[in-house]
Amino acid sequence: MIQLCNIGKVYDNGAPALHDINLKIPSGDFVYITGSSGAGKSTLLRLLYCADRPSRGQILMGERNITRLRPRSVALLRREIGFVFQDFKLLNKRTVFENVALPLQVQGLAKQEIQSRVYQLLQYVGLEYKLQRKPLELSGGEQQRVAIARAMIVRPRVLLADEPTGNLDSDLAIEIMEMFTRINHEGTTVLLATHDRELLDRFPRRTIVLKGGHIVSDTLPQTAEETPSKEEAI
């Protein structure tokens, strides 16, 4: 259960990004966050990850209020959350394998287990032959898949994905979405920020539309099919 109460976010330079967001996301849900460029999607996800602090309001995640956590608690919180960053945030000096293994090493798992889990997941995203490459030696889509693998490796309780298919062709995007669906069926709450209308149509889910930092609509699957057609008419 993720709950946002009266969340507002103003960046240091004075740019307001979110206004008075109230939201409840039950555990195990699969939610799209959509909206045009600069609407505040990434900001919203980053707040849930404690990568930024809200200017006002409270965020509850499970029982915890995550608005004012100490550094160590933030670290522990993040271990339960997977995040696919819009700009990937891979370590360029380390190989694909090391990048994906990192969250497990942080948790202090045994080398053996790390190895098998990383290998398996990289196989899922089709990068098993590029284990030893550095991120800068990969194509954009490959980097994105590494980022996705890194977010999923810890079998997180919550998966936050920011535009995870922006650099993938639709076949791959669909595969990735199926992975997300699978992990969601296993109990992980998934929040997915995306522009990709094809995905919204193909995998209809609860969809939250942001505009200028406000929630302008929050629709469930049956109505989700309406929204795109309506927008296409604009």
């Binding site: 990850y49 670290a75 945030k89 942080v106 080398k111 810890v154």
Partner: protein, 297 residues
């Protein structure tokens, strides 16, 4: 256990992955510490040298009358007890005459027919190292002159003045240069480490975003810093030893036949260990500060 292995592995791996950065750190530590140790080496040896030279500094008390043996013995004992005094040596009239004759060298025939008694007997008082200054000598004279039989003192005022000025200058510039050198070493090393960490700040950020605790993020960097600092210190000691051996030791021995060359020695072991420790500490502390700045979460 897994953690420890991970940290050790990471430390070595990261030094391999960023050879430019670790090279810069090691190089800077090596050069800076080499400067510092070479400076220490010079100060250390100059001190030894001046300590030897300063043996010549003494206070001479000329005696108007020749004291009886027992009185003389008593005087010697009393004077030796004074804190500034190292040894006391009685120079009889005969000995003084003999010295004077030696001094005249070939012209000693001039003294033929003169009685040894034309020269006075004296007490030569050697000073302890810490009292070998103009002030020390004067204070001793002051003390001695309380005994009214001692009235005629000689202690090489001009030479002492010059020696004093020289020692003062040496000590002042030594302290000043040394203090400044230590400061410079600290500054330069911490500055270099700050830059290498700055160059890797995205790594720090990403690690923290992945859920790593501050300790987990910092530990490999600290280990790396300490390790590089220690390697740098070792290189510094090695380089310093090369300089010492080829220039100071060999060079001087070949060019000089004096005792000076023989007396030059390398830093004692405890100082070498101190340099090593300093390198390690600087590497560690130098990493700590910028890490605290960049790993704010």
């Amino acid at each position: 256990m897994e953690r420890l292995r991970y940290f050790l592995q990471r430390t070595l791996l990261s030094m391999r992955q960023t050879p430019l950065l670790s090279g810069a750190t090691i190089g800077t530590v090596a050069i800076a510490l080499m400067l510092l140790s070479f400076f220490t080496l010079i100060v250390f040896n100059v001190q030894n040298l001046t300590r030897q030279w300063s043996r010549d500094i003494q206070v001479i008390v000329y005696l108007d009358r020749i004291p009886s043996n027992s009185v003389l013995e008593q005087w010697c004992q009393e004077i030796t007890k004074l804190p500034a005094v190292e040894t006391v040596h009685y120079v009889s009239q005969a000995e003084a005459f003999e010295r004077f004759r030696k001094r005249l060298g070939q012209n000693d025939d001039l003294l033929d027919g003169l009685m040894p008694e034309i020269l006075p007997a004296s007490l030569e008082i050697a000073l302890r190292e810490e009292a070998r200054t103009q002030r020390g000598a004067e204070e001793l004279v002051e003390l001695l002159s309380r005994n009214s039989t001692f009235s005629d003192f000689r202690y090489g005022q001009e030479w002492l003045e010059r020696y004093d000025a020289f020692m003062f200058l040496l000590r002042l510039t030594g302290t000043l240069a040394g203090g400044f050198l230590i400061f410079a070493t600290l500054f330069i090393i911490s500055n270099t480490i700050k830059l290498t960490i700055y160059a890797r700040r995205d790594e720090l950020e990403i690690l923290s975003l992945i859920g790593a605790t501050p300790f987990f993020i910092k530990a490999p960097f600290l280990a790396e810093g300490a390790f590089q600092g220690a390697i740098g210190a070792l290189l510094a000691l090695g380089g310093c030893h090369v300089l010492y051996y080829f220039f100071l030791k060999k060079g001087l021995a070949a060019l000089l036949t004096t005792a000076a060359a023989q007396n030059i020695s390398f830093l004692p072991t405890w100082m070498q260990v101190a340099v090593l420790g300093l390198g390690l500490t600087l590497g560690l502390a130098g990493s700590m500060l910028p890490l605290r700045k960049f790993v704010r979460m």
